[in-house]
């Protein structure tokens, strides 16, 4: 084996790694691209009560607590977009922050035990809670993003949505796995 060959092998390996990584990255990023898109579409198909917005053109605040799996992707996707005249405002919040000013709250998986608290906190408030923590919807979250057969799907807890005074369009429900679970844990599917 020549030195030259060796160099080439190394480079190739690195490239492969890089591409793999990149692929992985892109794979990972394409999932969140889609999920970001989903969130945008959720905004379109969910109706907040009139009290949720101070003004007709007040932004839809998306709060992200816990880890942010989207990164700049979500900013890019929602940049300049409006839904019903409301632009988007993405805030990354500390877990202890006041989440009541958000219309959409994305709970990162790192929150762990705090998730229940957050759910309890936001219950009855017009905040669309979205997460990708498994069982999120069963525990009272409104929308849970799942991954089934390499496809992004989502579950929607209609009772929780009703409690939150959020009107979710049937059009969305058609596409979702509907979960009926009230806060007190009764499951109806």
């Amino acid at each position: 084996m020549t030195v030259r060959r060796l160099i080439i092998f190394i480079v190739m390996m690195m490239l492969g790694q890089a591409s793999y990584a990149w692929a992985q990255d892109s794979e990972a990023s394409s999932e969140y691209l889609i999920k970001a898109g989903y969130i945008y579409n959720f905004a379109k198909l969910v109706e907040w009560p009139a009290t949720a917005f101070a003004q007709p053109d007040s932004p839809i605040v998306i709060g992200i607590v816990g880890n942010d799996p989207f990164g700049p992707i979500i900013d890019k996707v929602l940049e300049g977009k409006k839904v019903n005249g409301h632009p988007f405002l993405i805030k990354r919040l500390k877990p202890t922050a006041d989440v009541k000013e958000c219309q959409i709250l994305f709970i990162g998986s790192s929150l762990g035990s705090h998730v229940a608290d957050t759910i309890r906190l936001t219950r009855g408030t017009p905040i669309l809670t979205i997460s990708e923590i498994p069982g999120f919807a069963d525990r009272g979250g409104i929308i849970n993003l799942t991954l089934e057969q390499n496809k992004v799907r989502f579950e929607v807890n209609v009772d929780a949505a009703k409690e939150a005074d959020l009107n979710i369009s049937s059009r969305l429900l058609v596409l979702a796995k509907v979960i009926q679970q009230s806060g007190d844990g009764r499951k109806t599917e």
Partner: protein, 677 residues
């Protein structure tokens, strides 16, 4: 089949049918078309609405890329039978979900650029494209394709209805029109019928029945009026025809009568002609038979007288003279009787010619000198100025005058007999008056009555005393009458008598208006074959006898002769025929020969033709100065004429005057004396 020749009924029905069909077709067609168009519009709208709904319903699925849900949404279109395909395209034109019933293939990818939203008809299908949006964001395109079966069905149905309807209404219109056309056609057909009957039967009493007030009604009225008129005229015509028949019959009868009369007349005429011929023959015979022995008597006695004179036997001379006298008397009797018979038979004819009067008078006087001297009479003659020539029967004129003068001599003793001749104008005519006066025994009124009657010498004793036949005056009287003149007598018994004879200067023969009308061409012989104008000569002379003689002698020279008695016609003929020479008589009836000459010589066409003037008057210098080539005095010297003509014929014209040596009148006048009216 010509449209024009269709019957009224067919025409009317055709019109009705056509108009109603056209109206029907147009209206129903436009209605149906409108309906189909709006139906299609409806369907289009329906489909578009459909697309909208489907689009709305599938927007979320498109946004979330949920293919099953999208497909399921499309599948809902199963309910709509006319949808043959429904496709949802992603924003970049790829098929995302589709619904294609049956085994049809999905339509090809539609380029998103051209068909964002809209519709089109293509290949029998109706495509609607719908922009699928979720909250304003374009998430995909929906294509709905319909086979528009409902519309096709409707259209087919309509077509069927249409044809049935048209057919049915057509039939109905046919029925109706066939009934209604009678309104128009019946009166026309009636009229036609009437006309046919009228023409066929020639019956103009028929009238067309008219119950219509419209234009056809007026036509029928007009027709009826016409028939009435025709009827009237027909009747009138028949009447006229009847009258005509009656008249024709009348005429035919008349004609038959006349024909009969004519036949009888013809027979009578033939008989008369026979008689006349017999008479002429008799007279001719008698004339000859009677004269011949008499001539012998007179002749021999004369001869004997001469012989006896030589031998000196004076007694015998007297006896012979007596025979002579008796013979001459008998001869004059016979002549008179024959003359009178001729006159009676109507066989006495006039032989008119132009002659000089003075010479004749002189001759008569000379002849009668012995008769005058016998009774110791003296004859005085006075011929007035202006008495030149006249146109009459010289023999008869002579006879009249001889008769009168000899009568004067007979009945006058130691007296004077005057003969006066002068021209007079009376009743618009020119006459010559011969007056014979004597200082003799005169005539009593009683005698006068019988004077001019035959065989009635005033007194039988007179004939014994004075001689004469008693016929002389009668004959003279008749002769004068024949020449349109008359004899009058004035007398005083014991003093003398004056006999006046008036004769026209120009005696016109009976049966002819004037000599100038004798202008027929009388060629003595037909023109020789091949005779050209080089051989044609024109003779202008009013005396028929002259013309005849001229034509005969000229024909002998091998010439084609044209004759005329009129100066006018002569000029005309000259122009037409261009003879190589013209003989022109000075004395012409209608125009003075000199003026004719003048015209001939001043006409450029005719001036080159040589003109030979013929006349009884000698005025050569005038003739030549006026351009006559030559000048001959009548009666003609034929040889001279022939020579002249030969000269002209050969083309040489001679200007040298040719004088006629014989018959020069003693008096040469300065100007031409007028001799004609």
């Amino acid at each position: 089949m010509k449209l024009q020749n269709l019957s009224i009924k067919r025409k009317l029905m055709l019109i009705t049918m056509l108009t109603s069909s056209v109206a029907l077709l147009l209206s129903s067609a436009s209605f149906l078309i409108y309906d189909l168009i709006s139906f299609r519009h409806l369907l289009t709208q329906d489909l578009e609405t459909q697309a909208q709904i489907i689009g709305y319903n599938s927007a979320a699925a498109m946004a979330f890329k949920d293919e099953p849900v999208a497909t399921a949404t499309l599948a809902a279109l199963k309910a709509k039978e006319d949808i043959v395909a429904a496709v949802l395209y992603t924003p970049d034109g790829k098929i995302f979900a589709q619904y294609v019933p049956g085994d049809k293939a999905a339509p090809a990818v539609v380029p998103p650029k051209l068909y964002r939203t809209g519709y089109r008809f293509e290949g029998g299908y109706f495509d609607v494209l719908h922009d699928v949006t979720l909250n304003g964001e374009h998430v995909g395109t929906l294509l709905l394709r319909s086979d528009m079966r409902e519309w096709s069905r409707r259209a087919k149905r309509y077509a069927l209805i249409f044809f049935i309807f048209v057919f049915a209404s057509g039939l109905f219109a046919l029925l109706l029109s066939s009934k209604l056309q009678r309104m128009i056609s019946r009166p026309i057909l009636q009229l036609e019928d009437t006309i046919r009957i009228v023409s066929a039967n020639k019956n103009y009493e028929i009238r067309a029945e008219n119950t219509y007030g419209d234009e056809i009604g007026r036509l029928m009225d007009g027709f009826n009026n016409m028939l009435a008129e025709i009827q009237q005229r027909d009747t009138a015509l028949l009447n006229a025809n009847d009258q005509l028949h009656a008249r024709t019959e009348e005429l035919e009868r008349e004609v038959a009568q006349r024909q009969q009369a004519q036949e009888e007349l013809l027979k009578a005429k033939h008989a008369a002609e026979e008689a006349s011929r017999a008479k002429s023959a008799f007279l001719a015979n008698m004339s000859h038979e009677l004269r011949t022995p008499l001539n012998a008597i007179i002749g021999y006695s004369e001869m004997l007288e001469e012989e006896t004179r030589e031998s000196g036997n004076t007694e015998a001379i007297q006896d012979l003279q007596k025979i002579q006298t008796a013979g001459k008397h008998l001869l004059s009797l016979i002549n008179d009787v024959l003359d009178l018979s001729k006159i009676e038979a109507g066989k006495m004819t006039l032989h008119l010619e132009i002659f000089d009067v003075p010479p004749m008078i002189r001759q008569i006087v000379t002849t009668l000198e012995p008769a005058a001297t016998k009774n110791s009479n003296v004859i005085n003659v006075r011929v007035a100025e202006g008495v030149d020539s006249m146109r009459a029967d010289i023999t008869k004129v002579r006879q009249i005058l001889v008769n009168l003068v000899s009568n004067a001599c007979k009945f006058t003793d130691s007296g004077t007999i005057s003969v006066n001749v002068e021209p007079i104008t009376a009743e618009g005519q020119d006459w010559i008056r011969f007056e014979v006066c004597d200082t003799g025994i005169g005539i009593t009124p009683k005698q006068r009555k019988q004077l001019f009657q035959e065989f009635a010498q005033a007194d039988t004793s007179i004939s014994r005393k004075y001689g004469g036949t008693g016929l002389g005056l009668a004959i003279s009287h008749r002769f004068a009458q024949m020449m349109n003149g008359h004899i009058d007598v004035e007398s005083e018994p014991g003093k003398g008598s004056t006999f006046t004879v008036l004769l026209p200067v120009e005696v016109k023969s009976e049966g002819q208006e004037s000599p100038s009308s004798e202008t027929t061409l009388e060629p003595a012989k037909p023109p020789r074959p091949g005779a050209s104008n080089q051989d044609t000569i024109l003779v202008i002379d009013d005396d028929a006898t002259c013309r005849d003689l001229m034509s005969r002698s000229l024909n002998k020279l091998g010439l084609n002769v044209i004759l005329t008695g009129s100066g006018e016609e002569g000029i005309e003929l000259a122009r037409r025929m261009r003879p190589f020479a013209i003989t022109l008589d000075v004395l012409l009836p209608d125009r003075d020969g000199w003026s004719v000459l003048h015209e001939l010589k001043t006409d450029p066409e005719l001036s080159s033709i040589p003109v030979i003037m013929l006349t009884i008057i000698d005025n050569e210098s005038l003739a030549l100065s006026m351009g006559a080539s030559n000048y001959l005095v009548k009666p003609l010297d034929r040889e001279r004429l022939a020579v002249l003509i030969e000269k002209y014929r050969a083309g040489r014209s001679s200007k040298s005057p040719n004088r006629n040596s014989s018959n020069r009148t003693a008096e040469k006048r300065e100007e031409l004396a007028p001799t004609k009216a």
